[in-house]
């Protein structure tokens, strides 16, 4: 009853998706240039596309962009990795006991609420201006959010699942490895994504205040000299880096756990 018809599947679905994603952004660049030219916008207020590209090329050519980007990424990496390494075991340890987790969770909620930017003043006081203070801010932003989410993840694993594991003869260690960690993983990943979102913003803010290298510093330095073309370029770089980090690393990771296992969708 079903007859075959000529049918060709859509070629290169990945490429098509990328093009579909890039097209509106290209359109935005065109509109930007048109607006600047038509309304004759003062370049001090908003530069046109070629000026920004030239400024961008300048920062690439003299190597300053590279050193700012690597400085920022290095801080994020160190702060985040340290935070995750400490937060996940701690969260699981506390989450194993219902009593401990319900007692301590307000504490971690309180600190995850403070995460990031609010620590800048005291961090600069403790560590001075520079790497230490900024990494501390990032560590903080990620650590409390991930700990709280891990705690939440472990303590919300349904009891029947734990009972099922126990009746299938799992030891304590196996329970941890096979049930508690995978069960909390969606929450952990969500925590990392949220925490890194705060950390990235905290990084930019901290770099504006407390250092002499990094993307935030690049932005703020350009402001001192009213070089809007460098500011706009740096903003675009910041946007692209976070978009790549979030969309190509964190969001797929979250999709692979949270959504695949039938939990909620996020933007």
């Amino acid at each position: 009853m079903a007859e075959r018809v000529a049918f060709s599947p859509v070629p290169y679905p990945r490429l098509r998706r990328t093009v579909k994603f890039m097209l509106p952004l290209m359109g935005l660049v065109v509109i930007w240039q048109l607006v600047v030219v038509i309304f004759d916008v003062n370049p001090r207020i908003f530069p046109d596309v070629p000026t920004v590209l030239r400024a961008g090329w300048g920062t690439i050519a003299d190597g300053s962009l590279f050193s700012h980007v690597t400085a920022s990424l290095w801080r994020v990496t160190v702060g985040t990795v340290l935070a995750i390494l400490l937060a996940v075991p701690l969260g699981i340890l506390m989450g194993v006991s219902r009593g401990v987790s319900s007692f301590l969770s307000p504490l971690f909620r309180f600190f995850s609420v403070l995460a990031g930017i609010a620590w800048i003043p005291i961090a600069t006081l403790w560590f001075g201006y520079g790497f230490g203070a900024i990494t501390f801010v990032i560590f903080n932003a990620v650590f409390f959010v991930v700990t709280y989410n891990t705690l939440l993840g472990v303590s919300t694993i349904p009891m029947p699942i734990r009972h099922a594991a126990a009746s299938l003869g799992t030891s304590r260690w196996q329970l941890l490895k096979e049930v508690l960690v995978p069960g909390a993983l969606p929450n952990i990943v969500t925590g990392i994504r949220t925490g890194m979102g705060f950390a990235w913003r905290g990084l930019i803010a901290a770099e504006m205040i407390a250092t002499n290298t990094g993307l935030g510093y690049m932005l703020f330095l350009a402001r001192d000299f009213y070089r809007t073309e460098v500011i706009v370029f740096a903003m675009i770089v910041i946007g692209i880096i976070w978009l790549v980090l979030d969309r190509l690393l964190l969001a797929p990771l979250e999709r692979a756990t949270v959504e695949r296992w039938g939990m909620v969708q996020r933007s």
């Binding site: 307000p106 403070l114 609010a118 933007s267």
Partner: protein, 268 residues
Amino acid sequence: MTYAQTIWGMYVRWTTAWPALSAFAPFVPLIALWGFVVWLEIFPRVFLPGPFEVLQTSWSLLYKGILPAYLGDSLVRLAVGAAAGMALAIPLGIFIGLNQRAHDATWPVLLFFQAIGDIAWLPILLVWFGFGLTTMTFVIVYTVMFPVILNTVLGIRSARPELERAAQSLGASRTRILFEVTLPGALPNIITGLRNGLGYGWRALIAAEIIVGTSGIGFLMFDARRAGSVDEIVVGMIVLGILWYIVDSWILAPIERATGERWGLVTT
């Protein structure tokens, strides 16, 4: 062991009698630990003040009227920014959510602008508007807007088709479906977006007050940093924590519970 059990038993009894207590109880040992560390004098006092000093400082800040005034400034900025952000974001989100073409054309742009992040806008805003209220308001509105737009769009687009079918076959017009079915269905997402947006917006406010600052809690903290008075910084942090705790768990979370959870749309 028995003492521990007695204390635990008291904790359980009291928190079942007054559930609000469980939000404060864990801070008691934390503050005790803090006081103990300070008493040991491992760190110099200029780096880590004791609980009593912080209490004294907060009392004097309260007494002088600095804390209430700054707190008021911060809250007004946050409220104005959040209201304006929502007023812009929700209609925009509804439009983009309902219109496939608009969605295709704007979604990547929205993601990109969200990725740039509020704080990265500060330098150019300072060039445009100088150090002042406009800059700060812009940053907060910007920050609140994007999570709300993105989540509204998501909520509208993830509407359950059979509910719209049910409404159609009960004779609802398209406008009625929008207001009776699509929007209530998107409400939990919109609230989640608002919660995220306020979370980010509030951090952006602190950063803006630190960098732009003429008043506000962020300014208070950074001014204290310049003067090297660490106890005022700690007061600022505690105030921020409590403030957000109140906003989040006494305003936002109950709304979420009253809508999404009662309707069985959200499980956490």
